[in-house]
């Protein structure tokens, strides 16, 4: 620090010093956002800079806080399905699953096998959509616009399969306690298979496009390292945790909705840097595509809705249910008072816990790496602020 006095120098004094040719070596606070193209929504970062080094970084969140946990206390369970799908808007259908599971377990509803397989297929298709979106945006943030076009081309076929089934492209509202809203239409299976097979076939090219690119490597390898114990301590999950050598996946550890019927690998990488996080994200796409194939090929016949009482009313009790969302562990802690509305419903969203680790990861990095690190944390603002 240049100033030895405690007081902050007046702007005119600073200007006078600068005009005499003095170099200012004070720390500076740089405000990034709340509107910034690299932040995927209204997210603000207060970065304290010493030259080009970030000595401190404090994310400021809450610009999109909609008070979901309060709203759900005044809505019945049918209405909540549509609220939760708007938390992480890139993976709408995945958000609906834990709510349905929580109610099914409390009310002891059995879900027919066909509905379980359909749920798995649709969740994994949504995971591919989500991951391809981050493949596009991460490339764009590092200056490569090409991945965006390829990603959106691949997304379209899967997007169409989802649309012909649910009628929506982002907010599906398709899972009900007990099963699905309705069965898949004719053509869904063919369209979905076409989409995922294309992804499996073309993904190696995309890998080369970024992972094999020298500039991409220089900007991501050994940048923004998240050590394993820090990831645990913040509750970081999903592809970001698996990039830090944590092979932790709810689909494997505590299989729900018949995930134990399918063969897939949990991808993880050892170094915990931006490159590894992105590597995991990209390799998960192929695993998801394999699961969709298996689910559709082995799709059981039968109803898609279990025996559900006319009024969805959970008995008294408390339950914590979690699922593997594309961005990490999505959990719902439901306290039921025996009513048609939850007494308390806590959403444990993956982006919120993941982003809380940003101050640690950003400390002592360079300004030029900041965007790469922010991008490699794959967060959705609606999922943070709820």
């Amino acid at each position: 620090m240049a100033t030895t006095e405690d007081r902050v120098p007046e702007a005119s004094e600073v200007a006078a010093q600068v005009s005499r040719g003095a170099l200012l070596t004070e720390e500076m606070v740089l405000n990034v956002g709340p509107q910034h193209p690299a932040t995927h929504g209204v997210f603000r970062l207060l970065a304290t800079l010493d030259g080009e080094v970030l000595v401190d970084a404090e994310p400021v969140i809450g610009y999109m806080h909609r008070g979901y946990e309060k709203l759900v206390e005044a809505r019945d369970y049918r209405q909540i399905t549509n609220l939760v799908s708007r938390m992480d808007w890139l993976s709408g259908i995945n958000n609906e699953l834990p709510l349905a599971l929580a109610l099914e377990r409390l009310m002891e509803i059995e879900v027919p096998p066909r509905a379980q397989y359909m749920r798995v297929a649709m969740c994994e298709m949504n995971r591919i959509l989500n991951h391809l979106m981050f493949f596009a945006s991460f490339g764009a943030e590092l200056g490569a616009i090409t991945p965006t076009f390829y990603a959106f081309r691949e997304r379209e076929d899967i997007q169409m399969a989802m649309e012909m089934t649910t009628g929506g492209r982002m907010h599906f509202g398709f899972f009900r306690p007990g099963g699905l809203k309705e069965d898949a239409p004719k053509g869904f299976f063919r369209q979905a298979l076409k989409g995922v097979r294309q992804v499996i076939e073309r993904l190696p090219d995309y890998e080369n496009l970024l992972l094999g690119n020298e500039i991409f490597k220089q900007r991501t390898v050994d940048v923004g390292i998240l050590p394993q114990d820090i990831a645990y301590s913040y509750g970081v999950s999903g592809p970001i945790a698996r990039g830090s050598d944590i092979s932790f996946d709810v689909r494997k550890d505590e299989p729900y909705s018949s995930y134990n019927h399918f063969e897939f690998d949990v991808q993880s990488a050892p170094n915990g840097d931006c490159f590894d996080r992105f590597w995991v994200l990209l390799h998960e796409v192929v695993e998801s595509a394999k699961i969709v194939e298996q689910a559709i090929e082995g799709m059981p016949e039968g109803p898609v809705m279990g025996k559900v009482p006319r009024v969805v009313q959970a008995p008294k009790g408390e339950i914590y249910v979690r699922t593997e969302n594309p961005l990490g562990e999505l959990g719902m802690y439901l306290v039921s008072d025996g009513d048609r509305r939850p007494y308390r419903l806590k959403f444990r969203t993956p982006s919120y816990s993941n982003v809380s680790a940003l101050p640690y990861v950003l400390r002592n990095t360079y300004v030029s790496d900041m965007i790469a690190i922010l991008g490699s944390f794959f967060f959705v603002l609606g999922d943070i602020d709820r």
């Binding site: 301590s233 505590e254 339950i319 914590y320 802690y333 025996g338 806590k346 444990r348 816990s353």
Partner: protein, 176 residues
């Protein structure tokens, strides 16, 4: 597959059983109740004891049980930890009363609690002793009240009929 819940409960009991007010298995997860003064000890043991190793910080939140029909209670801090190694869950319930709810901070044990205690503080008005920054996280700085307390009512529920109701009386009562 994970540890059976009974076995997990037995292990928790061995490690910290003498400091628990209550312990049971609930839907395949260990549920324990701890007095505020023992929270730091119990959570430290859950994290560090080798046969527990609950090193994954899932979440920290609050529950306001004041309008619970059967046995209305006060505010409660709820900490959820998960053992990645042994695959089991522990829900730590910490009753903190309704008047001046205070709970010791666990931000020194789990970094994730730094933010989640801030959120719990603004939403429920629970103080966390030892967390130096309890400024608002989600809410605007000048927000008044603690929205997730049951006494905080949504204004629209007073003036508008409830759209989810089956019969008119219920709709007019605002669904309450």
């Amino acid at each position: 597959m994970g540890l059976a819940a009974d076995e997990a409960l037995r292990r928790v009991d061995t490690a910290v059983g003498n400091r628990l007010l209550e312990q049971r298995v609930n839907h395949g997860q260990v549920d324990i109740t701890v007095a505020p003064e023992n929270v730091v000890d119990v959570v430290t043991a859950l994290r560090d004891v080798e046969f527990l190793a609950c090193r994954f910080f899932t979440f920290l939140t609050g529950v306001d049980r004041s309008e619970f029909t059967d046995e209305p209670g006060g505010l409660e801090v709820l900490i959820h930890l998960y053992s990645v190694e042994h695959i089991f869950h522990v829900n730590v319930h910490v009753p903190v009363g309704s008047e001046e709810p205070i709970c010791p901070s666990i931000a020194g044990l789990f970094r994730g609690a730094i933010w989640q205690e801030r959120e719990c503080h603004e939403m429920f008005g629970i103080e966390f002793e030892g967390n130096s920054n309890l400024s608002n996280l989600m809410l605007p700085e000048d927000f008044e009240g603690h929205p997730l307390r049951r006494s905080f009512k949504l204004p629209s529920r007073f003036v508008k009929a409830w759209p989810g109701a089956k019969d008119p009386e219920e709709a007019l009562a605002g669904g309450r």
